[in-house]
């Protein structure tokens, strides 16, 4: 199977502080890759590099074999192919739910208003949010806001979906509804990269898990391999700490 997306020998530093050191990861089409690691391990920076919100210091990012980190590439058109969802939802507070979802399809992908509206309402209905279509974001619960943010990201029909700690700001009940939505997208064949602290979810959804520690990939493999047969000392310690905290 060919790789839809690939990160090659990526380095990223903020001043003298090297945050990502020689990170290489392959993302096959229709796979779910989960990135785990302690806070400060570089997960979020990696996610931000992958949707080109951060500039790289070295290495390459390939989308469908095209080097999207090359100098002079059209950033807007590349970002239009990668859907991103953030921890803090970042819905547009001055726009209704439908308007939030239709903004990019209309402006970036040239869809008519009717076409985009129909698409948005179809997606909202499918994911159980039809009655919220014309509400404003501040009237929605955190879980509903995050689901709208995910729908907004997939409404542009991206080749790849990046989910950066999308459940970290939510309580367990709301986490469950967001995770259900993500699982459904995975079943539809969406290629996704997920940074998360939800290990139960990681086990269930991941085809491949990548363990990041101090900016380096220490181990990667299937969930069974990572959770049941950790090789490196760092991963053993990380899993041990999760166990102690009752998160595993």
């Amino acid at each position: 199977m060919s790789n839809l997306f690939e990160v090659k020998e990526l380095r990223k530093s903020f001043g003298a502080n090297l945050v990502l050191d020689n990170v290489s990861i392959e993302f096959p089409a229709q796979s779910a890759t989960v990135i785990i690691g302690a806070s400060g391990s570089g997960k979020s920076t990696l996610m931000r590099c992958m949707n080109l919100l951060e500039e790289l210091n070295d290495g390459q990012i390939l989308l469908d074999s095209q080097d999207i980190s090359a100098y002079g590439i059209d950033l807007d058109s590349v970002r239009g192919k990668i859907g991103s969802v953030f921890q803090a939802f970042n819905l547009f507070p001055h726009l209704s739910v439908v308007q939030n979802i239709t903004l990019a399809p209309r402006l970036v992908h040239g869809k008519s208003k009717d076409e985009a509206d129909l698409l948005a309402r179809t997606l909202l209905t499918r994911f159980g949010l039809a009655e919220k279509a014309d509400e404003y974001p501040n009237l929605l619960s955190g879980g509903q806001q995050q689901r709208v943010a995910i729908i907004r990201a997939v409404a542009t029909n991206p080749m790849l979906l990046l989910l950066d700690e999308v459940t970290s700001a939510l309580d367990p009940v709301l986490i469950a509804e967001v995770l259900t939505l993500i699982s459904e997208l995975k079943n539809e064949g969406m290629t996704m990269v997920i940074a998360t602290h939800e290990m139960g979810f990681a086990k269930k959804i991941a085809d491949n898990i990548v363990f990041l520690h101090k900016g380096r990939v220490h181990e990667s493999g299937t969930p069974e391999k990572i959770f049941n047969a950790p090789q490196t000392q760092e991963l053993k310690e990380f899993l041990g700490a999760l166990h102690q905290a009752g998160r595993l």
Partner: protein, 282 residues
């Protein structure tokens, strides 16, 4: 289930009512005392009769009202045209100042110099320089009417203030909003138009209205160039009768003009505060 207040709650509410009745009485008494004091001081002053005669003369007030009111219509016209250009130019300068591209450095520089200059110069000075200086150039196609040049001077000064208000609004929009828009593939321009500016204007509507109120009364300053607005009309009346009441008539009209807008601004500010509190509680 219906709500039945307990006797404890009833006692509490009765005590509250007693306290608020007492506050009202105290407020009434102190207002009356203050009013009495002012009346005694003013009417007791040596020149009171003379001031009353030359500033509060009903006869001259009625006489001056039509021409002062006619002048006020000019103030209103100036106000509306000036406000349109102030918002337009202020917006352009604010956008210019918040750009980051190196190509646009000169634009940023000019915008910065402009706001520094016109926020620093007294409005009266700008009025005199534009109103008297530009006609002196004797360029044919530039109109030298006092009204037009006065409006230009108002626009020059107020655009600088309004640009700073709008810029504060733009910078007050959370950077994550811009990021979310860019991550969806929106261009810089689309992000500004559809995500940043709508939120920026919502945040700065009260201070913008405040500047609008201020422009409303400063439109009276064009009278120094000879435009026959409300103040100038009052001045002409005063010159004929040697009675200052027409100025008071003009003042009263300006206050009447600004009150609805200031009340509207207050109401809008309160409503926005309440809304933000509601948002903070989810």
């Amino acid at each position: 289930m219906t709500y039945q207040p307990s006797s404890l709650q009833l006692q509490r509410e009765a005590a509250k009512r007693r306290a608020s009745r007492r506050s009202t009485l105290i407020a009434l008494a102190s207002t009356f005392a203050a009013g009495l004091l002012v009346t005694i001081v003013v009417t007791g002053a040596q020149g009171y009769e003379k001031v009353k005669e030359s500033f509060f003369n009903w006869h001259y007030a009625k006489l001056a009202l039509p021409s002062v009111f006619h002048g006020l219509l000019l103030n209103l016209r100036v106000l509306i045209i000036a406000e349109f250009f102030v918002l337009l130019i202020g917006l352009l300068i604010a956008i210019a100042r918040t750009t980051t591209s190196p190509v646009l450095y000169p634009v940023r520089l000019i915008a910065t110099i402009y706001t520094d200059l016109f926020r620093g110069l007294p409005l009266l000075l700008v009025l005199l320089l534009v109103g008297l200086g530009i006609p002196g150039l004797r360029i044919n196609w530039i109109p030298n009417s006092a009204v037009v040049l006065g409006t230009v001077a108002l626009v020059l000064t107020y655009s600088a203030y309004v640009a700073e208000v709008i810029r504060a609004g733009i910078e007050g929009v959370n950077p994550t909003q811009r990021q979310a828009a860019r991550a969806l593939g929106l261009s810089q321009g689309q992000t500004l138009e559809h995500v940043v500016l709508p939120q920026a204007f919502r945040n700065v509507t009260p201070p913008l209205l405040n500047d609008f109120v201020s422009l409303q009364k400063d439109s009276g300053l064009i009278s120094v160039l000879g435009a026959v607005d409300a103040i100038r009309a009052a001045g002409i009346q005063t010159a004929q009768s040697f009675n200052f009441t027409p100025y008071l008539v003009a003042g009263a009209l300006f206050v009447l003009l600004t009150i609805p807008l200031t009340r509207f601004t207050d109401w809008l500010t309160r409503r926005q505060d309440a809304k933000q509190r509601a948002q903070g509680q989810w």
